[in-house]
Symmetry: C2
Subunit: 207 residues, 2 copies
């Protein structure tokens, strides 16, 4: 898909615009000026204009932005306009928390399989899905056309499991293990390193 | 604490250096050259030299970096050289996952109280801590000198709870609710917006 030459910095800000536009839409608001959006989001109106002018969707001076149009355009750019097939690896507390977030599914990220090595959780149902053993990952990925794997397992096993996922042809890994995964360049890794986030907080607390 | 004029970009990279240096230290490695560290971390040796030269701790040409020294210096900058008193609000799956991460405590982030509104979890013990009702937050914060509150509650109640925490004199909020908290400038907020992370992954998948 073409991304209209939008810079990485703007792309990074899109999820936040998407969230605010979604809330406006849910509240029945059809259009909003850059100044109103600026007050709401606490960024300058000029940044909003610069960011959102990539998408069109704003009419004549004084009309403001068309909320629905912008919301849909941003959804397309972020790949939220179609369904993603996901598997979750690791059915511990974190894995269960992720499986139970209803908002992911609402946005098209559907967990279709859950896998673990722990005999304690095997067979347990989480949101209607039975936790299956790791040996079933490979056929499952191929059969269900899974594009995203969520890794909610300890650091020690994450590297090995990531290699297995790459062999199965996974396209993207959402990695919660606190380790850098060494995967081929065509496999996308998005890390959530919670301890690094906590260290940034701590830095700001003592600086 | 003085931060020796280190730029925000370098600060953002410090937790990753800290992790690699900690692993080297745990493996008994006492010194490492910028080239070896470069191979390990997959960043250029010149960036490593630029980043780490802020801290000293490297001797003559050919000696390399003193792992322990650098590890300790970075810990000080990140505020990891002393204990942080934390409370956790929200004892659902995510809250329980956070409470059970042993690494946070090892790095000095100690959860001392857990609070929830849900009668189902009140009184339940998580890592030896009884989940207490929200009314007890205020005296608890003052009595235990709590500096960090972890917000693992739904978006709908997060804003109200954040306001209560600010009134209690909290210094920092680690916010997992998918909402922007409006707090005074002296209160630090570090957000973990999981759906935004998932959207970035999705963007990279479709772009």
């Amino acid at each position: 898909m073409e991304d209209k030459g939008i810079s990485t910095v703007v792309i990074k800000r899109l999820p936040r615009y998407y969230r605010y536009l979604g809330e406006l839409r849910d509240n029945g608001i059809e259009r909003i000026s850059s100044r109103e959006l600026s007050n709401l989001m606490k960024v300058t109106a000029s940044q909003i204009r610069q960011d959102l002018n990539h998408f069109g969707g704003f009419g004549q001076q004084g009309y403001g932005y068309n909320v629905n149009f912008l919301y849909d355009e941003i959804a397309k750019i972020l790949g939220l306009d179609h369904k993603h097939h996901m598997i979750l690896i690791g059915a511990g507390n974190l894995g269960q928390a992720l499986a139970n977030y209803e908002n992911f599914e609402k946005r098209g990220f559907v967990i279709e399989g859950i896998f673990d090595v722990d005999k304690e959780v095997l067979g347990k149902e989480i949101r209607g899905i039975k936790v299956a053993p790791m040996e079933e990952i490979e056929p499952f990925i191929r059969r269900h056309n899974v594009d995203i794997a969520v890794l909610a397992i300890p650091k020690a096993s994450a590297v090995k499991v990531a290699a297995l996922l790459v062999d199965c042809g996974i396209k993207a890994i959402w990695n919660f293990a606190h380790v850098d995964l060494d995967v081929p360049g065509n496999v996308i890794v998005e890390n959530v390193h919670l301890s690094e986030s906590l260290m940034r907080l701590s830095y700001n607390l003592v600086k």
